[in-house]
């Protein structure tokens, strides 16, 4: 029959062939694009949770405070965890302790009237609580102290009294015996954790479980004997002590699990399996489980990089891997070696967006790489940050919070802001200095532009150095101020003081406070000590020697940037090219006699002696030096530095004509967001090109032409 058809209808056969071939090509193309890439040989699990001593750096003796043995059983249908924890805590303060406040973070999702939910109203970073009955909580059922511990003896359990605070995210344990400085105590806790449907970092979405902040955690006891325990409010994150973890997870056998630390054992029993993890010198333990996860592993500089993702996201695993490696290389060079032997990247599936972009020790969650729609690609749109920037950012937290474990409640800028600063440096190391991160044809958007966007509107309401509780989601501004304005301040300081000195200062800070709880004062001290209190930015102005050397006052810049809401803003107020003043009229001679009396010489056009006057205005309250570039009509260029101390600064150039003036020509002041008035062209310059009206006009013309063609003949 086929032969008959072929003979009688050759065109039909040819068409069928073409269609079939086209279908195959199309199918192959689609398959190539979205097929799950092969995982390659799995990198074996490291034998130790920490890297070799040369990569570890020193661990302060006082850093290790808290060791854990945890057993947790996940009921994947009920999204519930039955947990039992044994906790050994050491009093490293100089004070005897009789109580132990604990964090019960999960209780913030217990009801709509918890402080967290009152602020968040069931929403977090654009993700809404789905099922309104899917509350999350942690119910501590028993707390006991283990007494009579001896060699080979488990001792006995003495029940302790405990009670939740008014805010259910806090709990306090009454210790039946005070713990003296240097002594240890061993507590046992039994708890049930009900995961919420995920919309704010932790919880479940279908079969996916992101289990973070799920067990009771004590506060941090400072050297002066004060407990630092914070209610879990909307913008608050976490603060805890370092220690070792041995965790046994009992999960359905089908689950693929990623967790903090290294996997030491996995035993399957029927439809369940028990996986044991070991982590050292971390201050939290988180894990994720999903039966659909596929796994990609690689190793870089001795660190095992493990990605867990659903097959539909697997096409982008290489982009995340490259970003992870770039971040690892950059941050190790800048802030010292990464001390742990593993890093696990969890890709939450669609529907679990609330879990995306969160950091835990040796594990973080990321977000998907966006695919660019063909029409945008046609217009020349490119970007190299979606998804991979989340990977860079969340890995950065392994340092800024994982290793430099600042109090995220008291000074959130120390982890989020300094981490955003480090992200900009990772991009610089990867792509070059201030390389573009997004572009549309010739229009480019840079890493520093993201940071610069921090100074508008609500982002100027609060200073940087305030606690998380000072920010309200109703008002906004947390991201702009804590993340980006901090980075803008640091990058401005780096640009003015010099990259080498600034980088040395951050390296010194990171080395000095590894496995510690540094404060803002520690960071400021490192910056001032290494960069110096004052950095000379220019020699004296030759036209105005009395003005002295312009210096950058590092402490003053940090003070204004961190603890005020002052805004950096400069403006080229005026350029005046005019006739110079002559010497017509009456003047006294050396003998004191009035002589002269001539009339000024008549001048037409540009004849006669002339001068140029440039007037600069510091519109913002933030006092900071700024560079000035003056371009004359003969294309010669000079640069000066203005201290910015006065509101107005005037420059006079005898016998010159100024064509244009640029303030901050190298865009060093990342703190300055309003730059449209930084570049002024003299009104009497014939070829005034503002640099944008032409391109925008022609682009609008092209858009109109395209539409006209679309609706025309």
């Amino acid at each position: 029959v086929r032969t008959q058809v072929a003979r009688s209808h050759p065109k039909v056969v040819a068409l069928l062939f073409v269609r079939t071939r086209a279908s195959l090509i199309l199918a192959a193309a689609l398959a190539c694009d979205r097929a799950v890439p092969p995982a390659g040989a799995a990198v074996p699990e490291p034998e130790a949770a920490l890297r070799e001593p040369s990569k570890l750096g020193s661990i302060p003796a006082a850093a290790k405070v808290l060791d854990w043995d945890i057993h947790a059983r996940l009921d994947a249908d009920k999204h519930r965890i039955d947990g039992r924890a044994r906790m050994r805590w050491r009093n490293t303060s100089a004070t005897t302790v009789a109580r132990m406040p604990m964090h019960l973070y999960m209780n913030s999702f217990r009801a709509e009237d918890t402080p967290w939910m009152i602020e968040g109203r069931g929403r977090h970073r654009g993700n809404a609580q789905g099922d309104p009955t899917a509350w999350g909580y942690v119910d501590v059922q028993r707390v006991a102290r283990r007494v009579g511990l001896a060699q080979g003896s488990e001792g006995e359990l003495a029940p302790l009294r405990f009670a939740e605070g008014e805010d259910p995210s806090l709990m306090e344990i009454e210790l039946d015996q005070p713990v003296a400085p240097g002594e240890s105590i061993e507590l046992e806790l039994e708890f049930v954790t009900q995961l919420p449907e995920v919309f704010a970092r932790t919880g479940y979405a279908g079969e996916f479980h992101m289990v973070g902040q799920w067990y009771p955690k004590p506060g941090v006891l400072h050297a002066d004997g004060s407990w630092h325990t914070h209610p879990f409010v909307f913008h608050s994150e976490f603060y805890a002590d370092f220690g070792d973890y041995a965790v046994e997870l009992d999960v359905p056998a089908s689950m693929v699990v990623g967790a903090t630390g290294i996997r030491t054992e996995e035993v399957v029993e029927g439809d369940r399996k028990r996986i044991t993890y070991h982590a050292e010198m971390v201050h939290d333990f988180a894990w994720a489980a999903d039966p659909r996860f596929v796994e990609y592993t690689t190793s870089h500089d001795g660190v095992k990089i493990r990605q867990l993702m659903l097959p539909e996201h697997a096409w982008s695993y290489r982009a995340h891997e490259d970003a992870q490696i770039a971040a690892l290389d950059s941050m190790q060079a800048r802030f010292g070696p990464y001390p742990w032997s593993t890093i696990t990247i969890v890709h939450p599936p669609t529907g679990a967006e609330g879990a995306m972009g969160m950091e835990y020790p040796t594990l973080f969650t990321t977000s998907p790489v966006s695919s660019i729609a063909p029409p945008l690609r046609l217009l020349g749109y490119q970007e190299r940050v979606s998804g991979v920037f989340t990977t860079v950012h969340e890995f950065g937290h392994q340092y800024f919070q994982g290793l430099l474990a600042s109090d995220e409640f008291a000074q959130p800028w120390l982890d989020e802001g300094m981490n955003t600063t480090s992200n900009a440096l990772v991009l610089e190391d990867r792509d070059g200095r201030d390389a573009w991160v997004m572009r549309l044809g010739e229009l480019t958007f840079h890493g520093s532009d993201f940071v610069r966007l921090s100074q508008h509107g609500i982002d100027t309401l609060q200073p940087i150095d305030v606690s998380a509780a000072e920010f309200s989601p109703t008002v906004g501004g947390y991201g702009g101020i804590v993340y980006r304005k901090t980075a803008a301040l640091m990058l401005t300081l780096r640009n003015l003081a010099g990259a080498a000195a600034f980088d040395r200062a951050l390296h010194s800070y990171a080395e000095q406070h590894r496995f510690g709880h540094p404060t803002g004062a520690d960071l400021e001290a490192s910056l001032r000590e290494v960069i110096g209190e004052r950095v000379p930015l220019s020699t004296a102005d030759p036209d105005d020697p009395a003005s002295g050397v312009v210096e950058l006052d590092v402490g003053d810049v940090l003070e204004q940037g961190l603890r005020t809401t002052r805004v950096v803003d400069f403006r080229v107020h005026a350029i005046v090219n005019r006739a110079a003043v002559g010497d017509a009229g009456w003047h006294r001679n050396e003998a004191g006699v009035l002589v002269g009396g001539d009339a000024p010489e008549p001048r037409e056009g540009n004849e006669g002696p002339r001068e140029a006057v440039v007037v600069l205005h510091r519109s913002g309250d933030f006092v900071i030096p700024v560079e000035i570039e003056v371009v004359f009509d003969d294309d010669s260029v000079i640069r000066r530095v203005w201290s910015g101390r006065k509101r107005v600064h005037t420059l006079v150039f005898p016998d010159r004509k100024v064509a244009r003036v640029r303030l901050d020509p190298d865009a060093k002041l990342v703190l300055e967001s309003r730059r449209l008035d930084n570049h002024r062209v003299a009104h009497d310059v014939a070829d005034h090109d503002d640099g944008i009206s032409g391109p925008l006009g022609r682009t609008s013309e092209a858009a109109a032409l395209a539409l006209t063609l679309g609706v025309g003949p």
């Binding site: 003299a682 640099g691 944008i692 009206s693 032409g694 609008s700 032409l705 395209a706 539409l707």
Partner: protein, 262 residues
């Protein structure tokens, strides 16, 4: 005579239409250029970080966005109006070859009202089609939805071409909605004609998109090549119209119930 030759023979018409399109588009460009220049005054943008600078410009001067939208959309609306007026004249010229101006003018005057009416009916039908599509396409993947929307637009354009040609060349009743609706039926019932018209339409869009992409990618520098592409797109459009004109009259629509009752 094939379509390309007809279009080339009518080169004065082609050039006139192209210049008209350039003039309409230049209106948008000039308005935007003037608005941006006024917003900036004596200030100028930096040499780099241009996307941030543009974002800052439109952030502080939203009137620039208004100028862009009014300029571009206004140009498109003006083009629709002008082309609706000129379409009968161009169709008559392409179908009948070179004719005395008076004769063409008389044909234009005679069919202009009907052509405008059928265009208006098509506008209504397109609105209905768009309304139906918006609801049904929203759950689909974006690229699939875009492809279906493009296909619907191609069919609608072919139907409009057929209806206009019917009115101008074959005495179709432009004021009747059935002439417009029958354009759709006729387009779908003649897949080969539809395929040719769709191909030509897609080529026109490709010229438009390529021109826009060149200009956007070059930050406005490549406006010259975009104008040349517009000429090519206009020529393809005339070829498309000639093809419809040569396709002959469509069968008359079935009689309405009112007609039956009479």
């Amino acid at each position: 005579m094939n379509g390309a030759r007809v279009v080339l023979a009518a080169w004065r018409w082609l050039l006139a239409l192209w210049i008209g399109e350039l003039a309409i588009a230049a209106f948008a460009g000039t308005a935007v250029r003037a608005q941006v220049a006024a917003a900036l005054g004596e200030f100028a943008l930096p040499d780099d970080h241009l996307m941030y600078a543009v974002a800052e410009l439109v952030g502080f001067h939203p009137d620039v966005v208004v100028a862009i939208v009014i300029g571009v959309v206004g140009s498109a609306v003006l083009a629709v109006v002008v082309w609706t007026m000129l379409a009968p004249l161009v169709i008559a010229r392409l179908a009948g070859g070179a004719r005395p101006a008076g004769e063409l003018g008389a044909a234009w005057t005679r069919t202009l009202g009907g052509a405008i009416a059928t265009s208006a009916w098509h506008l209504l039908l397109r609105a209905g089609l768009a309304f139906a599509l918006v609801g049904s396409l929203s759950p689909l993947p974006p690229m699939l939805a875009l492809a279906i929307a493009a296909l619907a637009t191609v069919v609608a354009t072919a139907a409009l071409d057929i209806s206009r040609t019917q009115v101008v060349l074959h005495g179709g009743v432009g004021t009747s909605w059935r002439t417009a609706a029958w354009g759709y039926v006729h387009a779908v019932k003649r897949p080969r004609l539809l395929a040719v018209l769709a191909g030509a339409q897609l080529l026109q869009w490709a010229c438009a998109a390529a021109g826009l992409a060149l200009v956007v990618r070059s930050a406005g520098a490549a406006i010259g090549p975009a104008r040349v592409l517009a000429l090519l797109g206009t020529a393809i459009g005339l070829w498309r119209l000639h093809h419809v004109a040569c396709a002959g009259a469509m069968p008359a629509p079935p009689p309405s119930r009112e007609t039956d009752a009479e």
